[in-house]
């Protein structure tokens, strides 16, 4: 499109990259959490439920700030885990990935859990009695039967990730070309004089990506209905 600076292009790419990475990174964890919450009965289940869903109700800025405290140079994880390993997260695109993953996590878990709860328990019993251990059953029965929930959860998190602002701006900052995603770039254009056109152009890009994602999801869902 006309008039995009290299920083704008990298913001667009970075948005997609961050949302994609966060989604892929969260998938196994979200699946595991959904599985545990559906099939295991244990003490502290309510606590886990609250912890997983907390980002849904907390302001993203709060999450960002907590992550900053946790992962920063003086933070618990930052000082004892990241620094000895020589990993610098804060103010890099990786921090944006983590912020996006945390904020979108409950959105990913929920449809997975709904899908798993809908699985007929007898399918699991049958698979066990046919000689499949619990892990085998997860991979060959629970995963494929709940695949729609997994896709729905992934799409939700990806879409939410594209719009992540509050947590990202705190842990990753707003560095053009490095950590600036589409929402951050729009914010910057919108708050600068004569930035309206650029802000609107980025809005258009944002809408386009969202439409593509939703159409893709719809297409995938229809394809699965047909396959069934």
């Amino acid at each position: 499109m006309l008039g995009f600076t290299p920083a704008d292009y990298s913001a667009i790419l970075l948005s997609v990259k961050v949302a994609t990475t966060a989604t892929l990174l969260s998938l196994p964890f979200a699946f595991a959490v959904a599985y545990v919450m559906t099939y295991r009965r244990f003490r502290g289940m309510v606590a886990l439920d609250v912890a997983v869903n907390l980002p849904l109700t907390l302001p993203p800025v709060v999450i960002g700030y907590l992550l900053l405290i946790l992962l920063g140079r003086e933070g618990l994880i930052g000082r004892h885990v990241l620094q000895p390993l020589g990993i610098q997260l804060i103010f890099t695109w990786k921090a944006a990935v983590i912020a996006t993953a945390v904020v979108g996590f409950p959105l990913m878990v929920r449809p997975m859990r709904t899908a798993m709860e809908a699985i007929d328990e007898r399918l699991i019993h049958v698979s066990r009695l046919l000689g499949a251990g619990w892990f085998d059953t997860i991979i060959t029965v629970i995963l494929p039967v709940s695949v729609r929930g997994i896709i729905a959860g992934s799409v939700l998190m990806f879409a939410r990730g594209l719009g992540e602002f509050g947590a990202t701006v705190i842990v990753a900052g707003n560095i053009p070309g490095v950590t600036q995603t589409i929402p951050l770039a729009i914010y910057e254009y919108a708050s600068s004089p004569r930035g309206d056109v650029m802000a609107l152009s980025l809005c258009a890009i944002s809408i386009a990506i969202s439409v593509v994602v939703l159409v893709f999801h719809e297409w995938l869902a229809r394809r699965m209905v047909r396959r069934d």
Partner: protein, 352 residues
Amino acid sequence: MELQVTLQKRFNNFHFDVEFEVQGERIGVFGPSGCGKSTLVGLIAGLSKPDRGKVILDGETLYDGTKNLNIRPEHRRVGMVFQRPSLFPHLSVKGNLTYGLKRCSTANRKIAFDDVVEVLQIKHLMDRGVKYLSGGEKQRVAIGRAVLGNPRLLLLDEPLSALDDSLKFNIVPFLKDVCRTFTIPYLFISHSLLEMQIMTDQVLNLSDGRVLEKTTAEALVRARMGESMAGYMNLLRLTSPQPVDGIYAYNWGDQQLLIASGDTQPEGLFELLSTDIILFKSHPEAISARNLLQCRVIRTFEARHRIGVDLDCGGDGHLVAEVSKQAVEELGIREGSEVYAAVKATAFRKLV
């Protein structure tokens, strides 16, 4: 197959406490719904955990509460067919059938895929998705899937209950054939006495979480005769039907029975209720009922206010009729006496 079970499990307002020992291939577990039949099956399969007890199958301990031994369901080699087929929706028919086969160690693989497919007549369904099968086809695939897991015991948890009557008795021959062909012993769970009569040799009679008695379907049907209006169910296996004036003449031992509900299949299983048999002391000259059999009374038995009459109808033919106490006196029915049994052609119900 030899199965020893002592199991206890307490639910909120239900106390399950059974103890029995059975030997045989065709064992029934009979009882009304809510009596603990499915609980028993789940505990034997290892799908739920008892509070205490012991399960020993063919000398191998599957569960022992005192030794903290609880073999996982995937290692018990116990197959299961539920009321509903519960096929894996994401797999084809073939994928469903081979699921257990693939996970069965080669040492235990005794049943060949092609043989099961042939007995169950499901070859033409092989590449279909399971959603495109009829109810009966689905249940046949479910039976095949369980059998191909090469179980040493098959738990049939009301496998016919969800099917309508005509379909139910279509599945029966498949179920019997497959278990006989591959010599798989089974526990057949049901609340239907008719199914018990067809499918089992011995029956565990369950009530309210306890085993009341170890008996046979025959004994249960006789005992129930006095309580139920339906009476005793005679099951007749008849052969070689010939069409005669719009109905069918079937061979029964060395005599013929005329039956309205017949068809051209070479063999059929028919139900005839004891209440549909009328007894005469001497030969009635003219009678509208199409079947008149000369019989000898083997014995009589009492069931509440009714009297059951065991009849030897010549050849291997054997029927149970049911009469009131007054009728017994009026007809002079006693052991060895001769009577005529009249049955209408429409009284027979074709099951298979």
